[in-house]
């Protein structure tokens, strides 16, 4: 049964992507239905795989019927099946959100015929990385998902996205090259890339060689997982992408890196080498990430930094190298995939409702849209680890594991984890109080551009300020008008005029009675998006994701049970190795 199902999470999205590309241009409705159908099927298959894997243990499938040391194997064990289920769930939620967004904004302006196939390819790559039974297949899975992510990140090709995309692409390329070089060295020293065989053969290598190979793999994966010294690319590149893309990136891509680190540390190099280094990295990741989040004012950037910070929790669990630590890390990965995706989706809705993602500009969202406020509040508290939610359970498990370990460094990291959690609450509650809770900055009657100009100071001449009549013009024309006004009042050097025009435009955008979204690097190219109610499909998708994150709390018991059994398998290694090699003798 498993042998039939196991290739499907990779195969279905790839075939779906091909079909979606074929029907894309002419039948967008068919394409949407197809993508949703494919991802639903992947979700169903993943759930079945998880049930089977939890009942029967790990199963390996040789593709094409080649005998094990020769062919490519896919391995389904509890960890990979669990990852697949979560990945498919958030992918489906994000896809529905994206469909809603496309329907609301009109598909003509966005290259949606590219979005769906690329998204499906991304999911195929993620599934392949989770299922890969040998290092080279893992590399291929990474490349599939990375290439798709390059396309998604630069979707539309605007300047901000190209700029952000370049950073992301170059960093990812570097990490891929390091990974590939590590594979070459591993093959040179062991003669295999099959992970189950490697588990036996790597231990026979000299210690120095082992350390080199392990650190190369860890560096490559830590770049992808955004572990601290290698995390600077993430907050720079994620916030500019379209909301659904950022959501799925934040949820899935870094966690694929974490998954690879788990495999490296448990299956390939179980000796506990470099655990200390990882623990220091976890400490730094937690603290420095969250300090970055506290300093930001843009919701998406805040979320990106909390994402980096919370990667530290998972790395901490892995570096403990105990069953409790691994179980906590596994549960936390599951929780964090769901929660981070949901929060980025909510940030997309906030941008749509409030016209901005900067907390300096937002205000009064709680009264403007109570539902949105609830949708933000629940996952935000979950992320910060407030007790009833799964974030608390995951953090508690990790903290207990750290205390249980007893060493000085683990206890210090536990302390840092508590501080990071508290600072997460601080960063998140700043968003809450400023964007949602406080009243709109000025009462609507006084919120005119003239009043803003009066506030802005005397140096801004009245001619540089657009009149109220400009308010109902489309955003582009309005800005042109601003420039004209500024130019006509030209006194002084062109540079000074330009600065004035920019200031006037800035004031106009910041204080406009109907905030426009143009120039925010967001998805909606139309101004005054907030005049419309939030599209129902997007709301429904986000609500469903919030329900999923709350549901994680409800099923936390069984889920933690699965995570614990997965951790047990990881520590023993025999289930994985036995499933792949079976009775085959491993003669180097």
């Amino acid at each position: 049964m498993t042998s039939v199902l196991a290739p499907l999470p990779v195969l279905l999205p790839l075939l779906g992507a091909a079909a979606a590309l074929l029907v894309g241009g002419r039948h967008p409705h068919v394409q949407r239905a197809l993508s949703a159908l494919v991802l639903s099927a992947v979700l169903a298959v993943s759930v079945a795989l998880l049930v089977l894997a939890d009942a029967e243990g790990a199963v390996a499938v040789s593709l094409g019927g080649w005998p094990v040391p020769l062919g490519i194997v896919l391995v389904v064990d509890r960890l990979s099946a669990l990852m697949l289920v979560v990945a498919a769930t958030v992918a489906l939620g994000v896809l529905v959100f994206a469909v809603g967004q496309g329907a609301a904004d009109g598909d003509e302006e966005t290259p949606i015929s590219i979005f769906h196939p690329t998204f499906l390819v991304l999911i195929a790559g993620v599934a392949n990385a989770f299922l890969a039974g040998d290092l080279f297949n893992l590399y291929v899975g990474f490349e599939i998902l990375l290439t798709a992510s390059y396309v998604l990140l630069t979707l539309g090709g605007s300047a901000a996205r190209i700029r952000a995309g370049i950073t992301y692409i170059v960093v990812s390329l570097l990490s891929s090259l390091i990974f590939l070089a590590a594979i070459a060295l591993i093959y040179a020293s062991t003669g295999t890339v099959n992970m189950a065989q490697l588990a036996g053969r790597l231990a026979a290598l000299p210690e120095g060689t082992q350390l080199l190979l392990q650190s190369m793999l860890l560096i490559a994966f830590a770049i992808k997982a955004a572990v601290f010294p290698l995390s600077a690319w993430l907050p720079d590149s994620y916030p500019t992408a379209p909301a659904p893309v950022t959501a799925v990136f934040a949820g899935l891509l870094t966690k694929v890196g974490v998954y690879a680190i788990i495999r490296t540390q448990t299956l390939l190099f179980p000796g506990g080498g470099l655990d200390q280094v990882l623990m220091w990295a976890a400490l730094a990741t937690m603290l420095i990430g969250i300090l970055g989040a506290v300093a930001q004012t843009d919701i998406r950037r805040i979320l990106s930094f909390t994402l980096v910070s919370h990667i530290g929790y998972m790395i901490f669990g892995i570096s403990l190298a105990s069953e409790a630590g691994l179980a906590g890390a596994t549960f936390y990965v599951v929780h964090h995939i769901a929660i981070q995706t949901t929060l980025f989706l909510v940030a997309g809705l906030v941008e749509r409702q409030g016209g901005s993602t900067s907390v300096d500009r937002l205000g009064g969202l709680a009264t403007a849209s109570p539902l949105l406020a609830v949708l933000f509040f629940v996952p935000a508290m979950n992320l910060a680890g407030i007790p009833p939610f799964s974030g608390f359970i995951g953090k508690l498990g990790l903290l207990q594991a750290g205390i249980g370990d007893g060493g000085a460094l683990p206890v210090a990291v536990v302390g840092a984890g508590v501080v990071a959690s508290l600072l997460t609450l601080l960063a998140i509650s700043r968003v809450w109080t400023r964007a949602f809770w406080r009243p709109p900055a000025q009462p609507p009657a006084a919120d005119t551009d003239a009043a803003a100009a009066a506030d802005a100071g005397p140096e801004l001449g009245p001619a540089a300020v657009p009149g109220p009549a400009d308010e109902h013009q489309p955003a582009g024309e309005k800005e042109t008008a601003d420039d004209d006004a500024a130019a006509s009042s030209s006194t002084g050097t062109p540079r000074r005029v330009a600065a004035r025009a920019a200031w006037a435009r800035h004031t106009a955008v910041a204080t406009a009675a109907t905030p426009s979204t143009d120039g925010l690097g967001g998805d909606s190219e139309e101004g005054s998006a907030s005049a419309r109610p939030l599209p129902r499909v997007m709301l429904a998708a986000t609500t469903a994701m919030v329900v999923v994150t709350v549901g994680l709390t409800a099923i936390a018991g069984p889920l933690y049970g699965v995570a614990e059994r997965a951790a047990e398998d990881l520590r023993e290694r025999n289930p994985y190795v036995g499933a792949v090699l079976g009775g085959v003798e491993d003669a180097p």
């Binding site: 190209i162 540079r495 330009a498």
Partner: protein, 175 residues
């Protein structure tokens, strides 16, 4: 069979050159650096197969004399991946170049905003001058008057949708 010294030396030289190029700010050099590093890694994979032997074809050579076929298969895969990504990076470079060097692009609000951001900010994307400063798009709208750009956009590209895939080449000025 004696191990060859040529491969390690070549690999080392390629890695050195590739890292040097990758550290450059110019995107074209970064791409070249990536290609060089990719080739270095492919050579590393090749040398991981052990000493060279005969072609691994059954009946043509004895198994003991064959060279290891697996690294070659891996290299082929890696070459294909490198090729695909290099073409994508080329497209990105071209797009980036169009956005900042040639200001006349499709009538897209985002593009127009960028076009307005001439002067200091346009350089932000210039491959030679990728500013490390990390301003979000919302706060980056300082700029100078854009009448010229808007007028040119409307004159040359009236009615062209925002996606500039099919954008006609810039017209020559008639003299």
């Amino acid at each position: 069979m004696t191990p060859t010294v040529v491969l390690p030396v070549v690999i080392g030289a390629l890695y050195a050159a590739g890292v040097y190029l990758l550290l450059d700010r110019s995107l074209t050099r970064v791409l070249l650096g990536f290609l060089v590093l990719g080739n270095a890694t492919n050579l590393l994979l090749l040398s991981s197969g052990g000493p060279a032997g005969l072609a691994p074809i059954v009946g043509y050579a004895e198994p003991a004399e064959m060279s290891d076929p697996l690294p070659q298969a891996l290299i082929l895969t890696a070459i294909v991946i490198t090729f695909g990504i290099a073409s994508f990076v080329l497209a990105i470079i071209y797009r980036s170049w169009r956005l900042v060097r040639q200001e006349v692009v499709g009538v897209d609000e985002e593009d127009r905003r960028v076009a307005r951001r001439s002067g200091s900010d346009a350089d932000e994307i210039d491959p030679d001058d990728l500013a490390p400063e990390d301003r979000s798009a919302a706060h980056a709208d300082t700029g100078v008057g854009d009448e010229d750009v808007v007028a040119r956009l409307e004159r040359d590209y009236a009615g062209i949708p925002s996606d500039d895939v099919d954008l006609p080449p810039t017209r020559r000025r008639r003299r």
